[in-house]
Symmetry: C2
Amino acid sequence: MQQVKVERLLVNYKTLEKFKRFKEYGNQELSMLEDLESNIIENDSESPFFGIYYGNALVARMSLYRVDAKYDQYFTPPQDYLELWKLEVLPDYQGRGYGSRLVEFAKEYNLPIKTNPRINSHGFWEKMGFKKAKYNMERDLGENPLIWTPEGVAEQSVS
Amino acid sequence: MQQVKVERLLVNYKTLEKFKRFKEYGNQELSMLEDLESNIIENDSESPFFGIYYGNALVARMSLYRVDAKYDQYFTPPQDYLELWKLEVLPDYQGRGYGSRLVEFAKEYNLPIKTNPRINSHGFWEKMGFKKAKYNMERDLGENPLIWTPEGVAEQSVS
């Protein structure tokens, strides 16, 4: 397979238009649209979105956010970690390794990763080396968190 | 429509068996199963699950958890609120008002409510008086939070 390039996506009208093809278009995108309309942001280099282009088409994307160690309830020792969400590959482009490529990109930061996957995607995440965090109701509520840890990092034990 | 009774569900093997018919069976239920197997809990009266029975069949359920005011990032003044998740009605029993009945039950606590609904359920939540919280990435990450407020309670403004 040819090397696939992961790019940080600039937040602008063009990108938001491309986001409309993804199923998980929601409050986050609408909020970005409002910020563009009120000139708060444009081409923000701190966008949480990363994606893969096939020609001019954005065919896969994810969001990544670095959570500060002081909010870490998942790993030990408590440390900065990445929250990963909205990992999605457009239907016509699935099965080509784009989803895996995005997750590998996230792992290259060498920080622990936490995600709350959609129902029925557990096979994929397991293949990527993620495992279920021990469920803790006060922390997790409606989530089914999965975590990945680089070497030397362990899961927090929950009471 | 006849009055439909909402009951707090006791956590035991029988209840967990009934939960298997729901799509959103996940880490939470598996964790409860482990707790039962190690005799940590049984018939816990503090179960977060509420449901509606039709005869002997559990046909609708939700989880409710009271979040302490000190963690409130949604409402002003900051206060205890309810997190609602896993609202689900079995397919054969949809369209009878069971979902609405569960939400009305939650509202009877007269506390603000926050939920992170599934994609494509916004029409239902709007009908129930919920509105989108203003998206705040550091707080919401992959969520699309919806909130409902009793009289006298407002949404926190986000920076």
